[in-house]
Amino acid sequence: MNKARNHRYGPVTFSVSAALFLFVLALSSFPTRAATPSPELLSLLGELKTHLELGYGEDLRAGDCRADIKQKAAHAYRQAAAAALLQEVVVKPLEDGAIFTLKMLFPEGQIAQLLLKGGLDTYSLYKCYLDAEGSQNSFARCFYDVVISRIADEGVDDLFGAGGAAEELFGEAGKGLKPVTGMLDDANPVKGKVSEFYGKAWDYISGVGKAYHGKSERWNGEAKLCKNAQVTAVWSKRPRSRARGGRLAVHISFEQCDCTTKTEARRGVYFATIPVKYVRVKGGKPGFRLDLSRIRERVSGECCAGKIVEPDRCDFPTMERPVCENNCSEDKQCTFTYRTRLGKSCYSCKPKPPPPPPPDMCDAPAMEEGACNAACSDGECRFSYQTTGGKRCFLCWSKPQPPEECWAPHTRFKSRCEANCERGQCLPASYKLRDGASCYYCKKDPPPQWGWKNPCPPCQPLKDALDHLYDRWKQLQEERRKTWDEIGKNGEAQDRARKRVKRLESRLSASGGTGGKSTDPKTGITISSYDQGDGTVKITVRDREGRIIEERTRPVESKEQIRQRLEKARAELKALEEQEQALRKRLQEIAKEISGINEKIPKLRARLEDCIAKRCKGEACDAPFMDRLSCSKSCPGRGGKCEFGYTTSGGAECFQCRVSGGGPWDGGEQISVGGGTTIEVIDVKHVSGNNPYDRTDPVAEDPNNRDTGEENGTGGTISVIPYGGFFYPVDQLTVYGTDVGCPVDHYHSATGLAASCSGAIHADPDPGGCGFGRVSDTTTLPLSSCPWP
């Protein structure tokens, strides 16, 4: 920055810049030909001459040649501007333009002449053009005001004198002014024919103004001072806001001066810019004058002592602060730009910066997180919102103050809570008191959901009875299973006994000869025995092809011994048969009892479910239970005590008055039916698929298809074997080939038991024989006739 400033204010730079300024000014604004200066320029040069002469002796500063530069510049200027005029000059082009404009507005009659003769100054007329600043309306308004005010000030008669000029002005003859007075108003000053007149006048005077102010004038003078003393003045006539006559720039330079003292200047440059005012001269005519109060001078050069003098001026467009404050419009402000080497502060008009954006901060009472945490000691900081700048704002939420006393119906004494909390649990509340104590409340147990497995007390006897029946049913089932097992074992024992009897009988019959043999047709094994005569019998076992499989000997038994053993075996077989009969009898008894239980269980279960529906799930207590109030009213008279019985699913608490600790329910059939909505099925019409309310088969997939299948015989059949009036599905049986007991293929059950189509379970009727029957007796039945399996 300093480097830049030094560079900016170096002497060489200054000279170059000043020369460049003048060069550019000369090239851009002036014709190359040297024109004769206008009288008004000569007048302005004379005014400056006076100013410079009066300024001798200023800016004297010890050790500085600034005053000498200024004196020499004034001296050079005085020599060069010898021809300058020292009096005010009327600007003729402007005066002529104003007069012609007035005449254009009043083209007929003598009005324009009379107005000018009466004292209407051309200065004011042209000033209307300058003040209009390009606005035709403003020009018309100003022109009209000037004319009217002039007439009002002087009076019509005085202004126009005798001769009917006033009548001419305001009568039919004054066509120039009439439209002006009649049509001008604040809203629309120019209208109709008036605009036509004023338009032409405006066109003309604006042409005059542009022609005059569009040119600049330059004047060069020479002086005999030092060497190469030159004086140049450039008048830029372009109107400015406070200088309607433009600005005059004067440049005086000299060099190679003789030095006698240190305070003299060896070379120097004087540069001044002076605003030119538009003024009234010579009784109301347009003229120009320098505004010397706003002159801006700049002095630079080199002193004889070698010191460089720099212009202690703010370089354009910078200004000193007072100048800046006067020149800046409201939308601009004076901004410090730089400081000269001599310490002068320079300012420039710059647009005011846009108002600063609202600070990115949290609006109270919201705070930033850190501030909130610091300030919110008794509460909790919770996020509230986020600013546009992304700052997160928090609010301090004060924690609820714990109460001093428990909220009703809570109590701080757990024992008191428990005393009043029947069928519930005293739990601490979610809050604590200010002293830290807890509050307790009674949380009632939810009403029980009574059901088949968990009936309410009035229905409990039914449940107990049902449980008893189920237990008995299970016992009987288990006993029946064991009995069947015993029967099976008994059957096996009988088979063994029969075989033993058969074997002994054959042995007894064979003991009469010397030998014999038997063949098993199924296996083809032949067993032959031969008495060898030495007290032993040789037994040979051969296969189907006659090959010997086994040979052994046994001692020869006597017939008596065989007979004894046969009798014993027969007795054993008989005992087994009697045992089987006893077991089968027990089975019948079990079946009968189970059948009885099966009949009882549905009825009892129906009663239980009915009881649950009507006595447990309602909202009213059922006799002998009653609500607490009713119980307390009736019970004390009988010397009893109300004891809690149960809670209905609807939440009603039921009590029972116990006089001597009697049972809660006598098992009576009195069931109260509460009023409510009931539903009954009148009919069910089958549409498709299963019909669970079908009277013939509610489980069938489709009753219609089932009937069709049976009628057509295309399905729905099952293979059964009839035996003993029952039909046994053969898929639960096993086919056996011919054996000793049955010469044809026949059925046995692997378990010894089989279920008939009616659901009855039977043991194998002929375990040693043909079992459930011959395979050739197999037949088929419709499935509907054999639903059980």
Binding site: T677, T678, I679, V681, D683, K685, V687, G689, P692, V699
Partner: protein, 163 residues
């Protein structure tokens, strides 16, 4: 004679044929009158002046209760006395339905309140509800068995008369 008899005979035949064509099978359709409607109601019942169809949700809830009692001791209570072959159905269900068989309501298709009257201070609604049901039970050999069906239930729903 023949000339006279022929036209007469033809005319007679035409007249008879017209009579035959006029004959048709007609059913006796009584004209709907308040008295006729009242005769269709049970004894002591009064027709309601402001019939209100039962809400679908209420019918669905009640029907679920009815189906839940199928194959249980409470099934008898869900059947109206006039249910045709009521006892036979109960016996058949007892005999054929597996012990664990349950009936479930899958969806309720259409509901229509067919009739409504007041009897003994209670409002009785005859409602038709078409429902898709599913019968579920475990078979020892087939495993879990489910059988769906669509049936139209004619229900009698009794509610408090109300305001």
């Amino acid at each position: 004679m023949n000339i006279l008899a022929r036209p007469l005979l033809i005319s007679l035949l035409l007249a008879l044929s017209c009579q035959v064509q006029a004959r048709q099978f007609r059913q006796l359709a009584p004209i709907a009158t308040p008295a006729a409607a009242a005769r269709a109601l049970p004894e002591g019942a009064k027709p309601v002046t402001d019939p209100r169809p039962l809400p679908r949700g209420q019918v669905e809830r009640l029907l679920r209760g009815v189906l839940a009692k199928w194959n249980s001791a409470g099934m008898a209570q869900t059947l109206a006395p006039e249910f045709y072959d009521r006892t036979r159905l109960l016996d058949t269900v007892d005999r054929l339905a597996p012990r664990d068989a349950t009936l479930r309501l899958l969806s309720l298709q259409g509901i229509q309140t067919l009739q409504q009257y007041e009897l003994d201070g209670r409002r009785v609604s005859i409602v038709s509800a078409t429902a898709r049901t599913q019968l579920e039970f475990n078979d020892p050999t087939l495993g879990f068995v489910r059988r769906q069906g669509v049936n139209e239930f004619i229900l009698r729903i009794t509610t408090p008369a109300g305001p």
